[in-house]
Symmetry: C2
Amino acid sequence: MKKIINNPENVVNEMLDGIVKAHPEYVKRLEGFNVLVRADKHDKKKVALVSGGGSGHEPSHGGFVGEGMLDAAVAGEVFTSPTPDQVFEAIKAVDNGEGVLLIIKNYTGDVMNFQMAGELAEAEGIKVESVIVNDDVAVENSTWTTGRRGIAGTIFVHKIAGAAAEKGMNLSEVKRIAEKVISNVRSMGMSLTPCTVPAAGKPGFELAEDEMEVGLGIHGEPGTHREKIKPASEIVKDLLDKIFNDIDLKENDEVAVMINGLGGTPLMELYIVNNEVEKLMREKGLMIYRTIVGNYMTSLEMAGFSISVLKLDDELKELLDYKADTPAFKKL
Amino acid sequence: MKKIINNPENVVNEMLDGIVKAHPEYVKRLEGFNVLVRADKHDKKKVALVSGGGSGHEPSHGGFVGEGMLDAAVAGEVFTSPTPDQVFEAIKAVDNGEGVLLIIKNYTGDVMNFQMAGELAEAEGIKVESVIVNDDVAVENSTWTTGRRGIAGTIFVHKIAGAAAEKGMNLSEVKRIAEKVISNVRSMGMSLTPCTVPAAGKPGFELAEDEMEVGLGIHGEPGTHREKIKPASEIVKDLLDKIFNDIDLKENDEVAVMINGLGGTPLMELYIVNNEVEKLMREKGLMIYRTIVGNYMTSLEMAGFSISVLKLDDELKELLDYKADTPAFKKL
């Protein structure tokens, strides 16, 4: 295992400290917990957004804590759901009376633990709502999930629901917005290489030198199939076909696109992918309103990418363009 | 070779198109050239900043074109200096009478070709100055360089000289600022894996499963030595010792720090590195004023990182914090 770490058992703790030391103006750690909360001074009464999940997907989710996105991010061990007590602490820390929206990626453990934490908080009189992101069109059900998995489309939920909360919408409105994003976003990914969970010490799967895995999940869960590596143009066409099959998009519809790197993919390749995505979108008559390219929902050092497509309307466009200021996403 | 590309001979061209399609509000391409220039409307008379070099270091340098940083970035083939005619076109495109500063990383080809372009521009009556970034303390001279190499410290030059230009300083002042950054910044890196230039099809060097290369350059040039992988804390100590040996820093000095990923390193590891960097800085009595963590000066898919340390004064602090709005670096 080639990693720049100290003790494999302590990576999450050291990483969280490293994040706080890098961005003290944005985030602080809840003492004794693997929870990052906003450090910037703001006394605004607003709906608070809490997300999180297993670690290893950085900058998700701690990198999105800040103005206009999340109020807290809860970090589990690598590829492992955070426990309910950690999520409960996050909820208590950020609620200011307007209620808390939990943004949960659809994995069995995350759903169970976040919802249990929500119930604990409600028992203490905190208003809690939750939404479950399930944007991955690759496969229904898997070892980790019932239904579709939640992957990089989650960032659009953070951004847009975060703007809604920042603008002062109430809890039911923020939840409505988050659910609209979820119903309008679809994603699919592929990888060239596996990744290694530090505590495991060896890759989660193996791929031959000329093979790629199509449709895999962000924990290395199996995808739809394996095949020989193809040119970027053909890979993109396969992924977009699958996405287009799952969401109703017609000519002149406006969309936002995210080309998300899985951690080990050079930006050069992500931009080459984007070049192909734009061509196919244009052929289909879709209008690209915004494009985001970079590492946003990663799988440690995995080489690969995902494409997310979000169907927009005027309300979503305005919220997508609203100011955000976080370590990993800034919109001026 | 596992890469998400089409034709290995066409990666730079497709990448540049992909960048423009992703960020049309920031950059456009000079038709017929591998040059990205600012696309945002601005009629400000200001010194223009031009940088660039071989491709494969993304987001350097095209990702830094925008308000408060570069006015143009010239992209050579992968790990290959851009030709003088390309740089010359960039200079002509962005000069608005206040003159142009060329920010050149210290590689023989870059220095020669940028300076030749500068002379062509001066012959047409454009005021041109240049600075040469040589922040890498690892080795003096190499196959590619006379003197020290220019690596991630270059981003600090883009940011700070870019702010000086945006504030309306004249060419000699912007050059003075850039030279102050260069004399105050030192960097050093290490890698766990090599990278593969697409047109070459195989890795530039080999490393055993338990080995790392210390002090290597961003084109995979040899470093100071190879050794067995060590814990992050020891790696960081070795790199910082070398940096501290090369720059005069005393207790209570303020510094900016960049933990730069080389392309294939998970953000988790960069933050663990940052955690160690902060500890050693604190032990030495240094005050960390700003920290930047992420992929800024990469080597394709290489796994590894570099540390850059910039000694600050009041003038540099103000310019470092000045507004910047580019695809890869935003400061609100």
